[in-house]
Subunit: 289 residues, 4 copies
Amino acid sequence: MHRERFYTLAGSCPDRVGIIARVSGFIAEHKGWILESSYHADDPESGASRYFMRIEVKAASLPFDIDEFRNRFLPVATELEMNWKLSDSAKKKRVVILVSKQEHCLYDLLARWQSKELDIEIPCVISNHDALRGFVEWHGIPFHHVPIGNDNKVAAFAEVMRLFDEAHGDTMVLARFMQILTPEVCATYPWRIINIHHSFLPSFVGAKPYHQAYQRGVKLIGATCHYVTADLDQGPIIEQDVIRIDHSDSVEDMVRYGKDIEKAVLARGLRYHLEDRVLTHGNKTVVFR
Amino acid sequence: MHRERFYTLAGSCPDRVGIIARVSGFIAEHKGWILESSYHADDPESGASRYFMRIEVKAASLPFDIDEFRNRFLPVATELEMNWKLSDSAKKKRVVILVSKQEHCLYDLLARWQSKELDIEIPCVISNHDALRGFVEWHGIPFHHVPIGNDNKVAAFAEVMRLFDEAHGDTMVLARFMQILTPEVCATYPWRIINIHHSFLPSFVGAKPYHQAYQRGVKLIGATCHYVTADLDQGPIIEQDVIRIDHSDSVEDMVRYGKDIEKAVLARGLRYHLEDRVLTHGNKTVVFR
Amino acid sequence: MHRERFYTLAGSCPDRVGIIARVSGFIAEHKGWILESSYHADDPESGASRYFMRIEVKAASLPFDIDEFRNRFLPVATELEMNWKLSDSAKKKRVVILVSKQEHCLYDLLARWQSKELDIEIPCVISNHDALRGFVEWHGIPFHHVPIGNDNKVAAFAEVMRLFDEAHGDTMVLARFMQILTPEVCATYPWRIINIHHSFLPSFVGAKPYHQAYQRGVKLIGATCHYVTADLDQGPIIEQDVIRIDHSDSVEDMVRYGKDIEKAVLARGLRYHLEDRVLTHGNKTVVFR
Amino acid sequence: MHRERFYTLAGSCPDRVGIIARVSGFIAEHKGWILESSYHADDPESGASRYFMRIEVKAASLPFDIDEFRNRFLPVATELEMNWKLSDSAKKKRVVILVSKQEHCLYDLLARWQSKELDIEIPCVISNHDALRGFVEWHGIPFHHVPIGNDNKVAAFAEVMRLFDEAHGDTMVLARFMQILTPEVCATYPWRIINIHHSFLPSFVGAKPYHQAYQRGVKLIGATCHYVTADLDQGPIIEQDVIRIDHSDSVEDMVRYGKDIEKAVLARGLRYHLEDRVLTHGNKTVVFR
């Protein structure tokens, strides 16, 4: 972690000879100082590998701003057939949080935001319940209550999308949000919606995973942070972790232990995403920690 | 975890034949229903072992209340030379939290209290800074600012003790409280003050443990929840945990990772303590998880 | 862990008032010294709970031998409707190991046996390949090669059963044995066959779990030690653990990491089983660690 | 992990603009195909940072052999003031193992060697006891018994050094070798001797760490793989891990749990070292996992 302003270049392209040389050569040519860089070849012996990279360049070392960086890098990226993005550490990401009634992930995220550990903007919190309004508003963050029922799902999620867009949200975080998004929401914000699922996927997909885990008698329970796609609980996994339980733990105990893992896994996964450390590839992720 | 009212008997005595029979026989004689029970012999082959136990009895199964339980059990305890206590799950423990400026443990504890995961009373929060007043008061919890400097330490801690006593505190939690308690405070509340230290003790005692860990180049960092005694960072350890770091992590990264471990370890250690799961023995603890 | 000779009583019965008092009272009456004891009520608030227990009694403290212990305890057990067994720490368990070609679990188990960490007899090793004969025989352990193909499965497993019976085996350990047991084997030795499965069950049941895990892009892989039943990979779980991987790990890397988890989980699960720490209940286990 | 032949370039130099460009440019110029590459700036905002790198290049992609690679890269390295080495995946590292009486690490290493998980040569095993001769020789590996007492320490270690040199050893592994090396041995093979210490350093330096851990009442115990220097247990840490214990664990239990951690940590640390993934920097390591 460094605190000087920097630009992050993250992307992927077909593997071939000379990729790093081309990209780092471009940066060196402009006297760019590389603070951190990571590379990964997906399947280096196959001949059909894809190459992933993430590079942080000190902003002050470059003779131009981010727009000019983008313009000048474009031919290089085109030559390499790269999917890429460039971001500026000085421009805070805008994270909209969706919650229901459970507060543990919300408290955790707001504590990280309050202490600037997560250096983001939270333009608003959206909820299908009104329960957490006071807590959110005390922090000076707007709170929108959008009731969601079986008969108004499409309209309700249209409102969620309107609020997200109005807030210029970059990322939508489902912080134990207990409603399944409509396909339209999923399709509108690909790789921009992050969920925390309360099981170690692919075990215990769907509802009541702790009950399922209790029935099966597993000795560890977990949580999974993943991108949301139209397939429920099937999106690319960003981060996971587990905690040990034993026969003396009831479902309620498992729920309690699980909350701690959920908070930690969501916070780590969200941070990776916000720092452009997560690159997707099909249904998998490359995470440059 | 069960939610019916129960009494918890926790204690220890010299090891000998028939302890469990004597205690469980007493309970069975009164038709007491044992919900959970744990036993431990400290050094069972030595001939000088100490015996530890913790028993939860369903309150409604007994024909008398907790005071009568206490009266009737007294002769048994005397016969066994037992140090013991009896507590009532219906009587919430009163936990006074001491904080400085860092908010992560406070947010974490208040989230657990808010959701009733920690079923306690928090009669007040005491701090040597005024920074967290608003957050605490928003929760309806009184906040006391007691400035502490080098020249008023004794007086300031006398005030802390006065506030704790006035609040009828059972347990004092140092939730990243950055002042060293006076010997008088330590002596007044033995086994009632819980600290979270930001290292995996006994490594990195004292100030700036993450800087020490960075210098030494360790590959895991940790946190330790322990009882406070007059010897700094030397009290009996209740709970510990670690998290993996690597060469790319700066001291700031370690501080950030460390917070997550601190929160989790403090919450677990505090819960064990509040549920009378921790029995001390010299400078060590028996923790009946 | 203690090294004095002791008897272990392990069993379960319907929950009611006075179970511990009855059992520990019986032991105390005969001056039995309890070294270690554990109790668990499966569902203590339901009214239909089952009660589990495991008690170690110092052999020398009792005025009779294990047969007399068994005789005298029988009426108590009958009264409590208990399923129970009594074992003698001086009588080594006889563990027959089944392997295929992979050696990591075998090396690990023989190292533990050689150093007396696992204080067992290994009357023989059985394999469907001849590859590990030399290593086993060097340790002075008989090695039986029983080729198993699609056309001789029933006969081959009849031979395995004959060898196991001839060896007076107590427990059969599948130490990465790559053949599915016939239903007859499963039915003949209930709760006496232990397998190590190379995934964190219930994820990735069946063949090539590491390939499945690679496809799904999970961030942790695991292993599961379980009792073998006629349902493939569905038996009661004894022990599990996981290890972190990331995008840079190939299937081969996962196989390699997985071996370390497999060895550790099998060794722990087997130890719990051999020390009568595992009690089954439907498709779940109580493990008194 | 890949199995095609490759060269590994590993080194460090003062940080400045253009390092990656210069090195990867050199490789690209010769059509070198990069399989894997890692970079790290020690302290990127200080102006006095050191830059670390490790690059794997597919051997068949280059028009010359490793000697010519070395010759041609020399001017680049000189220009960058780089400390570097170049190794060939086809040339197996020669690992000499030193043991005493405890076998667990030896069994573990030989199992990994036997299965080619560790693709190394083991030219000999050296021990101050004769106990493990048969096991080692069964594997076709020469075994040298060099008795070491207080009165022959210097001569004995001179013999160890002679045997190591005669075996053309690259790396010396102390696999629970219970003798302290003489300063001369330490000085002769800097960063080539790897030890496994049975505690989570810096806690519990020196003798009987598990006894120390038992006395202190810690809740996790660990092991540390580190380079050996003249300062006992103070060398740069390569890898560490821990395992949870509790009040019921005796010193003997801790020894047993500890063995599992020792094996795993030694195997991981050794692998990192053999794959040139470990770069030292003062008393710390950069480990490119």
